[in-house]
Amino acid sequence: MIKLRFDPLTLKKFRRFREIKRGYYSLLIMLFLLFAAMFAELWINSRPLMVKYEGQYFFPTYGSIIPGTEFGLDYPSETKYRELLKKFEGQNENWALMPLIPYNAVETHSIEGEYPPYPPNAKLKHYLGTDTIGRDIVARLVYGFRICIFFSLLVLVFSYAIGIIMGCAMGFLGGKFDMIMQRIIEIWSNIPVLYIIIVIASIVTPNFWIMVTLAVIFGWHPITYYMRAVTYKEKAREYVQAARSLGASPMRIILKQIMPNTLSVVVTFAPFAIAGGITMITALDYLGFGLPAPTPSWGELLSQGQKNLDDYWIVWSVIVFMISVLVMVTFIGEAVREAFDPKKFTVYK
């Protein structure tokens, strides 16, 4: 496989990347968000971090549900911790430590005598309010972010794996293979992806992996154009001739010789592909053909917000969050492109 040896040239690229401040800070923020979202259960959850009941400690965050019967309640389903907290009030020996935002993304919170959507309320810990059926917006934003960013990353990895190999093979082998594949890709690229996914989603129940698979099946081809062109270029270079004369197999030449030299193309396109992935799943959810309800998603929030413009906190939360993420991804992309640009003297504006 490709060994990432940090040779001076690569280090130089990293340095260049760090110099481009907005890209660099965007990357840091994105990494932080990613990290925070990965462990969202620890700070946005209806399950407490820790419960002490009759001298025993419980850590409900991860793992199986703890039935109400464990805490002396009369039901075998998952404990309703908000009710448990009320029961614990005034008791010193029994307590529960709730996370920062004590709601999960699917539970509906109802306040007696009022109807959702509830506006932002710090006392109730609905920092961005709730949606139209009383689900916390921060929770839905963060869990929705987690789903769409992982969706994008997975789609990126798989579609680039296929696209890069196909592109290189086309460029390297050339001839009839190239001809035929080019035509296939031309046809493939004319398929309206969103519509196809909508059609398929109405036949099978879309789950996360089906969505990833569909997005990969219909999204692997754009990178092949660039890879093919770059491979054609590299193929003619002396080092490839040398490898060939040493008797290296085409596979080995592609993987070991050509591919590392095409890396800069891949890295420059990747961030934009991530942004594309986020937009795609958001669009599908917005139209109602994405992941099944009640999966938290930006698209679903957007469509709610659009229907309830008066409840401004719904639409603004998701718009601000989504635009920030997309802008940051674009900044990262720009910076990477700049850092990997061999023409060192271009002025970055």
């Binding site: 109802s110 109405s202 053909f289």
Partner: protein, 621 residues
């Protein structure tokens, strides 16, 4: 729900239709009719039946107000533009079809409050002794919008028309062959229509309307294309005056409408013009309404009733609002369980699910406690509804006990019940996006009972197709209703385990079949009523459908200068602002003086009375 998805498709299609059609083709397109000389004339056959008792209705109270005055333009909207002005043939089942159909009057109607027959084009009617036919005397004044009188020949022609293959309407072809045996012309103003077999409430089947023979002439295979955008002569109070494809439709009141002085029509159909504008989004339409660019709005959904509550037109009473309780058969909305699914073939599972569904939480949380739980599949059919049937309440303990009987005893790590390695997980499909929120609440509360419901949204038409092909486990939907309960299509073995039938629960039960067959064949009302109730109890005992919720009222908002009768609707009304419906429509009128008063008040920001009127004459409980 069905209507909604049809709307959806229509809106997609019409989006494109609009691009290709020429814009602003204002005014009527004239289609010259075929030479009427080609038409055969129908011979007279003397009436053979003796002792015919001619009936009419001089007693049932009309709905219109004696205070009503004519005039004004009523501004309404449509979500999609119709794909054709024909009311038969391809694409004719669009959301505004009723506007065209309402203006094609039938021989007779049922009074919306008493259910007695009232005159339409027929001024009197008589029943044959074999309960298969009815005789009608056509009102001699009846005439088409182009002035041609409506005569027996138009009815004779109607049967040929609807049986013709050229209209490309298999449904009509079938209905007018399977249901209607023949139409006989006794003289120019007297006809009789016969059903293929005796039926209960035969007048509901034989209330047909004429087709303008002089206009269509002999129809051929070009019918669909030729009459796509024609303004076809009609017999009702309004006729399409002008249109702009994709944008607007304007209906004009016929000043000399032949039926305007009939007792039942007095004080109705008052507005001179009804103009429909295409607004493709409900929310946008609401904004138009608040700005006064639409005259009324249906506020039944809490989303709209509570929207902009603090806006000046509402607070200051420039817009009036009312709640009207109606009493009519309710759509059979709920969770339909397919017994072809292994899990759902077990009655304990079905009963468990019924106990796991917290419909009241949905009503309380999303519908603001303003809707009611439907009691069963056949709610609101008056005498035909069994009042003793109540839905199973949400009760996780009873649910768990019922699931335990089916072998689901242990809870898995996620709290869902298990039977060995099988999880208690069931898919619920739905085709109307609006229900997503509601089902999300149902899903969350079902977890308490250890049941996992997987919620799956499908595009309306794909959803309906999959349900008719019986590919669902649970379908969340409702059937549109008819005036009397019908059981054969939904619950008889004949339709079970076959695609494209309405037995979506795949119910096949000899005991039930037997009752349904007797009910279907019976023309004795008392027997039918008692059977209807028994069958409902059997459906309830077998837990085939879990009823959901429904608003038992409608709510309208309207600008203050629109006036309404003291009771602004009938038992069967769906809105006080139905512009053309023959039984309950056209009740409102325009008050110029009030309009000026409101305009002045708006200018000076004066507050007017803003009480919300409630009409509970027809409230059932």
């Amino acid at each position: 729900m069905k209507i909604l998805w049809i709307l959806g498709i229509v809106s997609l299609l019409s989006g494109c239709n609009q691009c290709s059609s020429q814009e602003s083709t204002d005014g009527a397109q004239t289609t010259t009719s075929t030479n009427t000389a080609d038409l055969k004339s129908y011979p007279n056959t003397p009436i053979t039946e003796e002792n015919l008792k001619w009936l009419t209705n001089e007693t049932d109270a009309p709905l219109g107000s004696p205070d009503a005055i004519k005039g004004g333009t009523f501004k309404a909207f449509m979500l999609t533009y119709p794909l054709t002005f024909r009311s038969v043939g391809p694409d004719s089942n669009h959301s505004l079809r009723s506007l065209f159909l309402d203006n094609d009057l039938s021989l007779i109607y049922s009074h919306p409050n008493t259910q007695n027959i009232i005159p339409g084009i027929a001024e009197s009617w008589a029943f044959s002794s074999d309960k298969k036919s009815m005789y009608f005397k056509i009102n001699p004044n009846a005439r088409w919008s182009d002035g041609v009188p409506i005569r027996a020949d138009d009815f004779m022609y109607m049967l040929e028309f609807y049986r013709s293959k050229h209209i490309l309407s298999p449904f009509r072809n079938n209905y007018y062959t399977e249901m209607i045996d023949k139409i006989v012309k006794h003289d120019d103003l007297t006809i009789s229509i016969s059903s293929t077999k005796p039926r209960p409430d035969i007048h509901e089947y034989l209330a047909l309307g004429p087709v303008p023979r002089h206009f269509y002439g002999v129809i051929d295979k070009d019918f669909v294309k030729k009459y796509n955008w024609s303004i076809i002569p009609n017999s009702g109070p309004y006729i399409l005056e002008k249109f702009s494809k994709g944008k607007s439709l304007v209906f004009k009141r016929k000043k000399d409408w032949w039926a305007k002085d009939l007792r039942f029509n007095k004080g109705r159909f008052n507005v001179d013009r009804i103009s429909f504008k295409t607004i493709r989004d409900q929310n946008t339409a609401f904004t138009y309404f608040m700005k006064g660019q639409l005259d009324s709005f249906n506020l039944t959904q809490p989303d709209y009733w509570y929207k902009d509550e603090k806006a000046r037109p509402l607070v200051n009473g420039y817009i009036k609002r009312h709640v009207f309780y109606n009493d009519l058969p309710r759509p059979s909305r709920g969770f339909w369980m397919n017994q072809a699914s292994v899990l759902l073939s077990d009655i304990h599972i079905r009963r468990g699910i019924a106990y796991s569904i917290d419909a009241n939480k949905v009503i309380k949380q999303v519908l603001r406690g303003e809707s009611q739980r439907l009691s069963q599949v056949f709610t609101g059919y008056g005498k035909y509804t069994n009042p003793n049937i109540k839905p199973l309440p949400f009760d996780p303990k009873k649910a768990a006990a019922s699931f335990a009987k089916a072998g689901f005893t242990k809870r898995g790590g996620d709290g869902i019940l298990m039977k060995g390695r099988q999880r208690l997980s069931i898919e619920v499909r739905y085709g109307n996006k609006q229900n997503g929120d509601r089902l999300a609440i149902v899903k969350e509360s079902a977890k308490e009972a250890g049941l996992e419901l997987v919620i799956k949204y499908m595009d309306g038409s794909a959803f309906f197709k999959s349900v008719l092909e019986k590919k669902h486990q649970i379908a969340f939907m409702g059937w549109s209703v008819s005036s009397k309960p019908s059981y054969w299509q939904g619950f008889h073995t004949d339709n079970a385990n076959k695609p494209q039938t309405n037995n979506i629960t795949n119910t096949s039960d000899p005991a039930l079949d037997k009752k349904i067959e007797i009910y279907r064949a019976s023309i004795n009302t008392d027997e039918r009523i008692s059977l209807a109730k028994e069958i409902q109890q059997m459906i309830q005992d077998r837990v085939l459908q879990i009823p959901s919720w429904e608003a038992f009222y409608f709510r309208n908002g309207y600008w203050r200068w629109w006036k309404l009768p003291k009771v602004p609707g009938s038992k069967e009304s769906g809105s006080s602002f139905d512009p053309t419906g023959y039984t309950s429509g056209g009740l409102y009128w325009y008050d110029k003086a009030e309009h000026d008063k409101v305009k002045a008040a708006m200018k000076s920001k004066t507050k007017l009375d803003n009480t919300v009127e409630t009409y509970d004459q027809y409230k059932t409980n």
